[in-house]
Subunit: 552 residues, 2 copies
Amino acid sequence: MTDDLVERHRALLERAIQAVRTRDYWTPFPESPKTYGDPAAAATEFQARLDSDFTLDQPGTDGTVGGERSPFGFDLGIRYPHAEVDTLLAAAQAGIPAWREAGPDLRAAVCLEILSRLNARTAEIAQAVMHTTGQGSAMALQAGGPHAQDRGLEAVAYAYAEMTRHPATARWEKPAGRGEPLRLDKTFHVVPRGVALVVGCNTFPTWNSYPGLFASLVTGNAVVVKPHPRAVLPLAITVAIAREVLAEAGFDANLVTLAAEAPGERLASVLAQRPEVRIVDFTGSTAYGEWLERNAPQAQVYTEKAGVNTVVVDSTADFAGMCRNLAFSLSLYSGQMCTTPQNLLVPRGGIETDEGHKSVEEVAGGIAAAIDGLLGDDARAVEVTGAIVNDDVLERVESAPSLGEVLLASRAPAHPRFPGAVVRTPVLLRLSADDEKVYGTEHFGPIAFVVATESTEDSLRIFRQTGRSRGAITAAVHSTDESVLAAAEDAAMDVGVALSVNLTGGVFVNQSAAYSDFHATGANPAANACLTDAAYVAGRFRIVQSRRPATV
Amino acid sequence: MTDDLVERHRALLERAIQAVRTRDYWTPFPESPKTYGDPAAAATEFQARLDSDFTLDQPGTDGTVGGERSPFGFDLGIRYPHAEVDTLLAAAQAGIPAWREAGPDLRAAVCLEILSRLNARTAEIAQAVMHTTGQGSAMALQAGGPHAQDRGLEAVAYAYAEMTRHPATARWEKPAGRGEPLRLDKTFHVVPRGVALVVGCNTFPTWNSYPGLFASLVTGNAVVVKPHPRAVLPLAITVAIAREVLAEAGFDANLVTLAAEAPGERLASVLAQRPEVRIVDFTGSTAYGEWLERNAPQAQVYTEKAGVNTVVVDSTADFAGMCRNLAFSLSLYSGQMCTTPQNLLVPRGGIETDEGHKSVEEVAGGIAAAIDGLLGDDARAVEVTGAIVNDDVLERVESAPSLGEVLLASRAPAHPRFPGAVVRTPVLLRLSADDEKVYGTEHFGPIAFVVATESTEDSLRIFRQTGRSRGAITAAVHSTDESVLAAAEDAAMDVGVALSVNLTGGVFVNQSAAYSDFHATGANPAANACLTDAAYVAGRFRIVQSRRPATV
């Protein structure tokens, strides 16, 4: 089957490599929900999973763990196998030599087969993502399904290109004066680092895990997936599919395993410090990400942590479009994206717009009105906001009014299908440039600040300051002045953050398109890595060569 | 001048990129000493440098430091400017924005101009390398000159390829059903990490420093060069040349600075922990390399440390050639290369050769005789061995007889030109497989062990064991049996070390050719990086993008 597999996926791999090189729009995984069948059927299937054991035939199982609760208001009651660490890691290592020997082409083909089966099961994974993260159904399907699969394929394409940038063998012939040249035949092996640990997050269990998972697997490593305890199911399904494909292709299924954790086990820390673990991918809090960066010196550690995302509002040729665009960015998934803006910096003298001069109050009012317009109808609102992922976020939004002057209060729309859903719309607060203590840290969730600054120059100073000290995953600017846009671009380079300019239509600062947008940069405290660049994949393998005198 | 510079070096850059991709033999820098003028003239010039100030017009100078002594028996007496750290780092940072803006093409051209001027001054640098490292004159010229320049160019080629693997701008156009497509114009900036620190070593100040220096510089960083206190001059000349070229090209000369240290200053540690320092390249001891890996979490740290290099002797079709080849490998620069073999593993039952069966004693005797043959004449011997780099190595070789049964004693040949030179030939000791405590650690210098093992299988077990636990930069095997060679190749992959097979002629395990051989791997404790692969360059910069709605 394996030769066949390489042939079957070759064109797709080549197209993906071309896409990451040209960085234009492309995807093999349609994002339209219609592609993935009847959502009602998927919901019924999902219900059948609840209150039962999730079966995974992997070694070292010493019991079951669980405890997920849907942000839409019910317990999942799914029990996952819990693995004994020594047995799990030994099993993970056992398959590495044969997987290494398989070489880049076959490994890439196996990874693409896993991705295509994940794509075929998008509707099922979407339900799992929705009811662990609180994402609305359309977003859970797109971000949890095809967009996550895109990010996995992108990582495979990058890693494949790096593994094959020089030939597997070479002849080296050095002139030696009048004598025979020195001739060596050289062989270059791609050798993996060992076991890779992927630590999943609560909000984007697939989208944020697939890049590390596939980058490590395609480069020959074994992967242990440690999901967030509140978002196990999407990764459990992923692991099951990967194991099925690996076994069918003749490899050890234990090259991909699930490490579901018991309460209080601190399993990520235990695994990350094991000598067998040579790669760690993590998405989550700054504190824990920094702990990993410092306490797993035997491993390459790739982190995406928290940041403070800024929008510099200087002027606009489309005030209504700007307000609508920002309103959607703030509302989507209740602001629970690492890419959601938090600080909207507006000069206290107001801004020039196509609708004339607008004061800070009018700018804030325009955005607030746009949020109201977007989320005014509860049934439509919940499709945009989804539900609040956990109690930490809920507490944060509920106590947010104490942080500043409330420009728009958070509402709790009723969910028409899930009466227990915890839904909140964004709260918008007014601050001044002096309130750095408040806006200078991340308030993860549907909380945003309109900060009145001295001037756009002052806004750029604040953007630089918070971005450099706290990090940022995204940044945006609105201006009709090219010199301001150039200054913002300089500031973005200094901060090391991707900049979106004058988005007033159907593209939002929160969105990051695989094959084209670099997600995070690794250049500021919000992340030490980028999804996906060469640095993200190149350290996951090493080249081990041999050379011998040529016989010809 | 800058456009001209790009044009002048374009063909060379493209050829170098081709070479690292195809990995065949190539160099633009001839290795024949004749290319570089009259050595006597260079020696006279060098004498004129002694006992004087080395002038470097760089900021923050608060005194001078010095204290180098030639291993050939005299003090250099050269005084280097000592820099105040705050001023130095501020000056290093100042030039970064303009250097970043210059872009990959111009930065690569400036680096190639620096390399070509280094090449033009090879004879002078060779003297500096010889009289700081103890390398013989021919080796100092080749390894310190063209081979080091090759490694610098290789790093530039790799980094340039990574910086330009996608376009600087792209149009992204996403279909939107029946509506107008979403269109964005994107710009991708290569953004450096900040200040890079290069910590030089005593034995190969240029060869081991140029890869990191040029990889960091071409990717837009500023570079602070902290030489080993006993090998300042080669890097001081290098820094002076880099500063001259940068200034001529209109950039801030302080993008490359020298940080010569006062006795006891621990300047590398001070610099490595500064927040401005975002990259560290280090060659030296395992203990200090590991300290850097753990204590500079704000920086990308690339280390080459100590290892235990093994030769597995199973059988040979050219016993005399094998012995001669190993004798040269052990003798070259008195074994003071990170690539010198230490443990020669021979089955205690002996080996099959073209000269019939040979016992362990006969194998050891053959190698010892070949060393005697190579080094029997003092005047010729010193050209191969050079001098002992420092007192640590001298003490180690002098106390070596206590480690095992002496098969060949170290001699102290008289140097015909430098009566004060500290010269030692290799000592060869016999050990058994049980003496792991001795052969399982590095004895840097002209000290090698013939270890009698149970069998070749046992030899491979020991090779795996020492390589994995202590690391290795090189490994070699001699066998006429393809199944043994395959097993050795598997073992080398498990250890993560480059393997040389059946070298009996004019190529030696110690040698590593730029553009073709990967030096170290990053896959075992001897180094966390490889000179040079994609992983070595890709993390030295980040990609920061901007995107805005397309106007067409």
